[in-house]
């Protein structure tokens, strides 16, 4: 189910601007890896290179290798559409399809990928909503529009939608930044459960969150505004937060940072 990600020599650009510079790292399967760093350091951009979403932004371009187990996502003949099916994504702001019901939102990815019998579809939707800890709250109104839910519920709906297609990897781009503390807690609990089944990568601005949910943490930084972001270090979360090997990481974590 879950896969290892090996990144080597990855550069990403917006037009002529280089957003991230020469990043290499390994992301372990069935674990949570958190990306932290100041704004503009390229952590979200890097996340989006992992399912080839970066190239859909106008001018977006990527160099380097991302191996999913042994297959290069940027290899010749690889279909980005298939990549995005294998590597799911949850966004900063909850984005359920506004014109679809809760049920259809969860089923959306499945319907793209083949024909399912009604009963099968029902099973998967139920399982995914349960997996996202949302089932009990919405089981009576599956046919209502998804945009009627609260922010936290919408975000869990988006997670249910992402896991319904059974991806190998789940990318989360600041999934809690638009949510209140209680919804945040619910999502964090959920992440803890989901890592049994998926490789999870999460970008966060909240260092406590990184410390709470992740097994490994990567710190990104940039030399100056307008310069590309770099990976400073990646290590066990505990070490990063107690005894990082690079001074810049320590400065950032302890708040001694511009």
């Amino acid at each position: 189910m879950a896969k290892r990600i090996d990144v080597s020599g990855l550069n990403a650009y917006y037009g002529a601007h280089k957003a991230i510079d020469d990043i290499s790292m390994t992301i372990e399967p069935r674990s949570v890896t958190a990306f932290i760093g100041p704004s503009g350091c390229g952590k979200s951009t890097f996340l989006r290179t992992l399912n080839r979403m970066h190239e859909v932004t106008p001018g977006g371009r990527v160099e380097g290798k991302v191996l999913l187990d042994d297959e290069n996502l940027y290899g010749a003949g690889v279909d980005p559409v298939a990549v995005r099916r294998t590597v799911g994504m949850v966004f900063q702001r909850p984005n359920p399809f506004p014109t679809m019901s809760i049920f259809d939102n969860v089923a959306a990815g499945l319907r793209l990928n083949g024909k399912y019998r009604k009963s099968e579809l029902k099973d998967i939707v139920e399982r995914s909503l349960k997996g996202a800890n949302l089932w009990n709250e919405v089981k009576d109104r599956l046919n209502k529009p998804g945009s009627g839910l609260s922010g936290g519920q919408q975000q869990r709906l988006c997670i249910a939608r992402a896991i319904a297609v059974e991806p190998q990897v789940l990318l989360m781009d600041e999934p809690c930044s638009a949510l209140d503390p209680i919804s945040t807690l619910a999502i964090e609990d959920l992440i803890g459960e989901l890592k049994e089944r998926f490789t999870i990568v999460i970008v966060t601005h909240n260092m406590q969150q990184a410390a709470r949910v992740s097994d490994r943490t990567a710190f990104f930084n940039l030399a100056a505004v307008g310069k590309p972001g770099k990976l400073i270090e990646i290590d066990e979360t505990e070490r990063i937060f107690s005894n990082p090997s690079v001074q810049a990481t320590e400065d950032y974590i302890s708040g001694r940072f511009g």
Partner: protein, 359 residues
């Protein structure tokens, strides 16, 4: 592995071997080759079947191309990709389909319009020239158009502007709702109906004759809702903080509107008014009913029939001689040029005055 997988994999067997990131794809040269073959086949079929119109050849070729790519993609890449291709070709076809007539319209107008368009044409009226003879010009029509459109703007712009100010700055009651609704209704009035209205009041009931001013009134009716709508949009864009800041300084509301709100949005408002002017400049129907058209110069818009550019085009076309067709095309070109310049200037102002953060 949790609850998930066991009974799913039976059904979805084919699309998920361990990891199918690579899917069989058509080589890149396939599409250009298919296009060439389709064009060839289209011409071939056209020739053999003796279809005289090249439009038909093109249609056949396009159809063959779309069909062939769809079938081939289905076979090699699967239905999803094929549907994607089909949509792409459909969208491209729609684009090409539309480009042909619109480009032809512009091309014909320019090509045929430049034939008699010169200084003489712009500075002379038709006078007593018989319609079948070459010569004559549009001077009287240009004068008429400028006067009618100018008068219409004088009526419609202030009324529209003030109405919009009322709706945005003051309007909260029932009256504002009613006005908003009727502005919507007014937007949908066909131009000929506006002409009929002025005809029924001004000419049939009050007994006035045709004049440029009668046409202006109908044009003003068409222009007003456009001005109201665009001004409203612009006023709504002015942030409330600006108004509050001014009011908090003790500036009375009317001066706040005049000195803060309007100057902030003046660029957008000007653009809206100019686009509305461009729009009514091309209106023919009300002018036909109310101004009637004339062959000679009439500088007085308040008395007697006048000419206008769009009406001139129509009447020259009606004459049906080669010389009058030439004049119709030339006048159409003048008209288009006038409208385009108005549009370009208006959009230029919009861009120049736009706040930096625009989309």
């Amino acid at each position: 592995m949790t609850v998930a997988t066991s009974h799913r994999h039976r059904k979805v067997a084919e699309p998920r071997p361990p990891l199918a990131l690579k899917q069989s794809r058509l080589p890149r040269w396939t599409l250009p080759v298919l296009a060439l073959v389709a064009v060839g086949a289209g011409c071939g079929i056209g020739l053999v079947a003796g279809l005289d119109s090249t439009v038909q050849w093109g249609l056949i070729a396009a159809l063959l191309f779309v069909l062939a790519t769809y079938l081939l993609t289905t076979a090699v890449e699967g239905t999803r990709q094929a549907k994607d291709r089909l949509a792409t070709s459909a969208v491209w076809t729609a684009f090409l389909l539309a480009v042909v007539p619109l480009a032809s319209l512009l091309w014909e107008t320019v090509a045929r319009g430049t034939k008699v368009l010169d200084g003489y044409f712009l500075s002379h009226s038709m006078g007593t020239l018989p319609d079948a003879l070459p010569g004559g010009g549009v001077y009287h029509a240009i004068i008429g158009t400028l006067e009618q459109v100018g008068l219409a703007t004088l009526i419609a712009a202030p009324l529209g502007l003030l109405t919009a100010i009322y709706l945005v700055e003051y309007g909260r009651g029932r009256l504002a709702k009613v006005v908003t609704f009727f502005v919507d209704v007014m937007t949908g009035i066909p131009s000929i109906v506006a002409g009929l209205f002025v005809l029924s009041v001004w000419i049939l009931i009050l007994g006035f004759g045709p004049s440029g001013f009668a046409g202006s009134m109908a044009l003003a009716i068409l222009m007003m809702p456009v001005v109201v709508r665009s001004t409203e949009e612009m006023l709504k864009l002015v942030p409330n903080e600006l108004r509050e800041a001014s009011l908090a300084l003790g500036v009375p509301k009317w001066r706040t509107i005049l000195k803060v709100v309007l100057p902030t949005s003046i660029g957008g408002i000007t653009t809206g008014v100019m686009l509305a002017i461009a729009r009514i400049t091309g209106e023919t129907a009300p002018v036909l009913l109310l101004v009637w058209g004339a062959k000679t110069i009439n500088n007085n818009p308040f008395d007697g029939a006048q000419q206008s550019l769009p009406l001139y085009v129509f009447q020259q076309w009606q004459q049906g001689s080669d010389a009058s067709y030439d004049r119709a095309w030339a006048a159409a070109l003048v008209l288009i040029a006038f409208v385009m310049v108005l549009n370009l200037v208006a959009r230029g102002i919009a861009r120049w005055k736009a706040p930096k953060a625009g989309r």
